[in-house]
Amino acid sequence: MTPSAPPARRFPIAALVLIAAALAADGAVSLWMARTSHHWLPVQASAAAPYVDDLFALETGIGSFIFLGCFAVMLWTLLFNRAPKYDMEDGDPIEGNLKLEITWTIIPLVIVMLIAIHAIRVSNTLATIGPKERVLGGEQALQVAEGATATGAAPAAADYGPIEVIARQWSWEFVYPDGTRSGELHLPVDRRVRFKLISMDVLHGFYVPAFRLKQDLIPGSVIDYSLVPTREGRYRLRDSMFSGGYFSTNQTDVVVESAGTFERWLADAARAPLQESPNAALQLWQARLAKGDKGWATVPPAPPPLVNVIHDPTAPHEG
């Protein structure tokens, strides 16, 4: 050290210990938050779910660390840097600190870029969305989807499908490769299932919270989609993209079954007669008409599709 250099400011040991203890406590609480975050989510029922949940837990942990760190600084200043009453003095005239400012630019940059790289890897692993084909409306979409099934644009041997997912205002219809129609979506467990997503009227969203997956159905496009269910059970499938009047009633169930149960269900379903699935939107619409059609404008619900297997709205669902 040259004599002309300003005397190095000694960092008090007590402050260092305090900061270290605070960081350790912050880290411990953040770790606990990351672990707890799994309890805020529904059951994991698809191959995507563990990846999504782990990513969410990682972000919860990092986020908690930053949030608590900032909050601790605010709390400290509120406890120890308060001006006494009638004190009109100014604080320390610190105008900035270049090193500190560079640090808090670089560190967040590194953190978010690491998260982004990790998230890109996860997305590539999940690879749920396939190509989409442009069509002129719902009827042509149905033809394209059926064409794909019939001409044997068949998926890899291990995959099942494609199942046509047809959304209307406000109903769901699922058409299996053998032509069986269902009001609820039955899937074999542990197998990649392929879908053709079709909307007959407006935007809809294919959303299964237990799968942690959603994909919009876009009128004018047939979208290839795939996912792997990993847990047997009955889960909610909700319309996630606002679709007009009775949007909130537009839900059904996904039933994930063992390969054997699924095959038996499909065989039984193929023999069942076509009938109307119960439709909450239609019931509400009819009740409204009976009461003199009060309320604001909406298009009437599309006629419920005729299906071999109806959806039972009273069946209990997990997640």
């Binding site: 986020g63 001006a83 604080g91 998230a119 959603k214 909130s248």
Partner: protein, 563 residues
């Protein structure tokens, strides 16, 4: 109150009314070109619409307090949530922030008025016009628009009753007029800041509020033409049978989403940047310290402006967006955390070792900062593609953006109102009522918007009028919070109205703040410094540095006290 204030008889011949002159309340109902009058006009009308939007929200929360749709018809609920969002954005937040721009920009830079006063008044008077158009849509057959504030086609172009004049038509008209008004405003604010600064006020002596206003209004000029173009195409699809967005005619509904979000994502920054400006002005005043890293904070505003224009696809991750595009927009979105983080850390650095005074404006700033850090973290989660694929379009998003738009932006707006209230009314507000307003608002907003995140994580879609019973607890809490927020407006209104009518007189600088506006009398005269504009000789936040802000500062201080 007007007659009790002595005034110079010459004001009767002045081209526009002057505070203190008789009958001066009438100017608020006229085509007045004084920026301070226009500012108060904006704020008063915007606060009225805050009450309208809040009332709509409380009816919605009444509906959602129980799982089935039992209070109102689902179609009515759709109209209510559409109008709630539209009113809060286009009739409350944009106008009230333009109110701040009008009140603050000219005095802060030492200008007598805006660069284009008539244009300014025109921009304001469009606001009540499109406000009335939007309110009128409640009374047309079929009710108001019920397609959400995004107005995504094809739902928005379905026109169930087939009337030419319908709720959606009026909605598009109102939004387009709002866009025109905002463009006029933006031209005015930008020109004023660029051309009318006091001598000596270089860009790095400009208060941060003006920096953020400049950054925000730049977004308006770049983005609004795109939204307005999209809105006009939507209007043509709805009313004149074109097929821009109709697949049957070869159009694509996805195109609209690009037009819409190219502006409407940056629009959030148009609203949040001025509030960052308010935070940056207020923390130094109430911590008695210079703003930490002033230059970096100033430049970070334009970092946000630039990034805000290249992130819009993050609203469309699940809309059939290919993987490469998702990845690209995830990276750009995450980069916004960097300039935003710089600002947050700078505010914390400003608080550090300050001498903090917990007045009402400071409480709202601290509350807003606390909430904003939380909102930033959930924002990063939403930027992450796989997480967004799960929580996108659920209540998690609703919770997140209310933390931004209410718990940060509106908190900042309240902070700004209390802080500059004595300056522009000449009266002091009541501190007790202000603190009560803060406590109720903070508890109410936390109760209202925090449980929404949980409902969203569990899979509750946004915009639903009914929901599965497993979401009931979160919704009951949210509804109670919403009603508490309704109660919280009572002390606010009481405070503002009674203080303005008969509050104690405020001096020119009740907070011992540094800034050109505090060298003017309260309320400032019509032309601010008129011909005697001070020469700025130091940076804007010299707390504790002991340097005067302007040449001959004592003279200005003394003159402001005499007035």
């Amino acid at each position: 109150m007007a007659t009790s204030v002595p005034f110079d008889p010459r004001v009767l011949k002045a081209p526009h009314p002057v505070p203190g002159a008789p009958d001066n309340w009438k100017r608020f109902f006229s085509f007045n070109t004084d920026a301070k009058v226009i500012g108060i006009q904006y704020m008063a009308v915007a606060l009225l619409f805050l009450l309208v939007g809040g009332l709509l929200a409380m009816i919605m929360r009444g509906e959602l307090i129980t799982p089935p749709a039992d209070l109102v018809d689902p179609t009515v609920y759709n109209g209510l949530y559409t109008m709630h969002g539209t009113v809060m954005l286009f009739l409350f937040l944009f106008p009230i922030l333009n109110g701040f721009n009008n009140l603050l920009i000219p005095p802060m830079i030492g200008a007598p008025d805006m660069a284009f006063p008539r244009l300014n008044a025109l921009a304001f008077w469009l606001f009540p016009l499109f406000g009335i158009i939007l309110m009128a849509s409640f009374f047309v057959p079929g009710g108001p628009s019920g397609s959400g504030w995004w107005a995504y086609p094809p739902v928005s172009t379905q026109n169930p009753l087939g009337h030419f004049i319908n709720g959606q038509f009026l909605w598009i008209l109102a939004v387009a007029l709002s866009g025109v008004s905002s463009i006029l405003g933006a031209i005015n604010f930008i020109t004023t800041i660029l051309r009318m600064r006091a001598p000596g006020m270089g860009y790095f002596r400009l208060p941060i509020f003006c920096w953020t206003a400049l950054a925000a209004q730049t977004i308006q000029l770049i983005g609004l033409p795109v939204l307005t173009g999209g809105a006009v195409m939507l209007l043509f699809d709805l009313s004149f049978g074109t097929s821009f967005f109709r697949p049957e005619g070869g159009g694509d509904p996805m195109l609209y989403q690009h037009f819409f979000w190219f502006y409407s994502h940056p629009a959030v920054y148009v609203m949040v940047l001025p509030v960052f400006g308010i935070f940056s002005e207020l923390f130094p005043v109430y911590a008695r310290k210079p703003l930490f890293g002033y230059k970096v904070v100033a430049i970070a505003s334009f970092g946000i402006t630039f990034l805000s224009l290249i992130v819009w696809v993050h609203h469309m991750f699940y809309s059939g967006t290919p993987q490469w595009m998702r990845n690209l927009f995830m990276v750009t979105t995450m980069l916004i955390a960097v300039p935003t983080g710089i600002k947050v850390f700078a505010w914390l650095g400003t608080l550090w070792r300050g001498r903090i005074r917990l007045s009402t404006p400071m409480l709202f700033c601290l509350g807003g900062l606390f909430n904003f850090i939380f909102a930033g973290i959930t924002g990063i989660m939403l930027a992450t593609v796989p997480v967004d694929i799960h929580v996108g379009n659920t209540y998690f998003v609703v919770g997140h953006f209310h933390y931004v738009i209410f718990c940060t932006i509106t908190f900042g707006v309240f902070a700004g109102i209390y802080h500059w209230f004595p300056k522009f009314t000449g009266r002091m507000y009541y501190e007790g009522l202000g603190k009560l307003h803060f406590v109720l608002t903070f508890i109410g907003s936390t109760l209202n918007f925090l449980p929404m995140h949980w409902a969203g994580l569990m899979g509750m879609p946004r915009r639903v009028a009914s929901y599965d019973p497993e979401f009931a607890l979160a919704n009951v809490l949210a509804s109670l919070g919403a009603f508490l927020l309704g109660v919280a407006t009572i002390p606010f209104i009481l405070n503002i109205v009674s203080s303005w009518a008969r509050g104690p007189k405020a001096g020119p600088n009740p907070w011992s703040a540094i800034g050109l506006e505090w060298l003017l009398p309260s309320p400032p005269p019509a032309e601010n410094f008129e011909d005697d504009v001070p020469t700025v000789i130091s940076g804007p936040y010299g707390y504790g540095l002991g340097q005067p802000l302007v040449e001959h500062q004592e003279r200005y201080v003394a003159r402001a006290k005499e007035a």
